[in-house]
């Protein structure tokens, strides 16, 4: 297990941690932010695994557009009705 693999393990731990917080958080806003951070880690790993096209696509779509769509729908759902907490 060389030093380069250690970097990959650290980034995998980052992705796992942010994914865990995204699933278990109480506030929905926190989940969306952690999803965006997870997309950033995944873009780094794609570039690390020598796949520049995929890294560019994941950075733009995963960390940019997906969070924007989540937040826009979340803003619409705040008006009225009860909120379900897990």
């Amino acid at each position: 297990m060389s030093g380069l693999d250690a970097i990959a393990i650290v980034v995998f731990a980052w992705i796992f941690l942010t994914g865990l917080i995204a699933i278990e958080a109480k506030e929905r806003f926190t989940s969306v932010l952690m999803l965006s951070a997870m997309g950033l880690g995944a873009a780094f790993l794609f570039a690390w695994m020598r796949a520049p096209d995929v890294a560019m696509t994941e950075a733009v779509i995963g960390a940019g557009l997906t969070s924007a769509i989540f937040l826009l729908v979340l803003l619409r759902m705040k008006r009225g009705g009860e909120d379900a907490h897990e």
Binding site: P52, V60, L72, R76
Partner: protein
């Protein structure tokens, strides 16, 4: 389903995956067996000579980016299917969104930095997006990346200017034009070469901007279509009219 059951099922599936995949050829590898015919651009056996960057002319597949030559060259029919799936999802968002809300999202007044900065940054984003999808056959990039960058530019305009409205007719026509021209070029390729989406334009020198036949044109159409589609999704989510 309670958490304990869910954790048990996940642990079982995890054990099954780890045991099943441990004797496949996924261990520590130095070199991956990539098909030699594809690297030498010789899949159909019609290659005139060796592949040298900047010198070889008239190859079977003239793009320098191997992923592009798969996505728009050898497997262009799958890309047509993917465009269809994206179109269906944009159609679904557009059909249901106006059942849920029918007034525009109330935005706060943006700050001075945002307004001025958006006016400066938006043309740069446009130029960068067009650069990315027009150089898809030379460097990492292509239609999907460039189209998404254009959609992010549209999002910036929506955030910074409260009275901004996307012109619905223009973007629908743009999206339709991209899709229809893609299929028409495919049919012309079928008439000219015998296969749907056959590359009937001349392949220039590998590595120059005007090379690789039909591939930059197809990626340009895909970039326009994906960008206007994602902009249309954003317009439906912001509401209005």
């Amino acid at each position: 389903m309670s958490r304990l059951w869910a954790a048990g099922i996940v642990v079982l599936i995890g054990l099954f995956l780890f045991l099943f995949l441990s004797d496949a050829q996924l261990g520590e590898r130095q070199q991956v067996p990539v098909s030699e015919k594809m690297v030498q651009k010789n899949v159909l056996g019609t290659n005139p000579g060796p592949v040298i960057f900047g010198q070889s002319e008239g190859l079977e597949e003239g793009s320098a980016n191997l992923v592009t030559s798969i996505v728009v060259g050898y497997r262009a029919l799958d890309t047509l299917g993917e465009i269809m799936v994206l179109f269906l999802s944009a159609l679904g968002v557009g059909a249901i969104a106006h059942l849920v809300w029918n007034q525009k999202l109330q935005k706060e007044a943006p700050s001075f930095i945002l307004k001025t900065g958006a006016g400066i940054v938006f043309p740069m984003i446009l130029v960068f997006g067009v650069y990315v999808f027009s150089h898809g056959h030379l460097s990492p990039g292509g239609g999907f990346q460039g189209g998404s960058i254009l959609a992010i530019g549209i999002l910036l305009l929506y955030i910074a200017f409260p009275t901004f409205e996307l012109n619905r007719v223009l973007f629908q026509r743009l999206e339709g034009f991209g899709g229809v021209t893609f299929v028409v070029l495919g049919v012309i390729g079928a008439l000219a070469g015998g296969a749907f989406l056959f590359n009937f334009l001349p392949n220039g020198v590998v590595g120059q901007l005007f090379s690789a036949g039909l591939i930059p044109i197809l990626y340009l159409l895909i970039g326009l279509k994906v960008g206007s589609e994602l902009g249309g999704i954003l317009r439906n989510l912001y509401g209005g009219e």
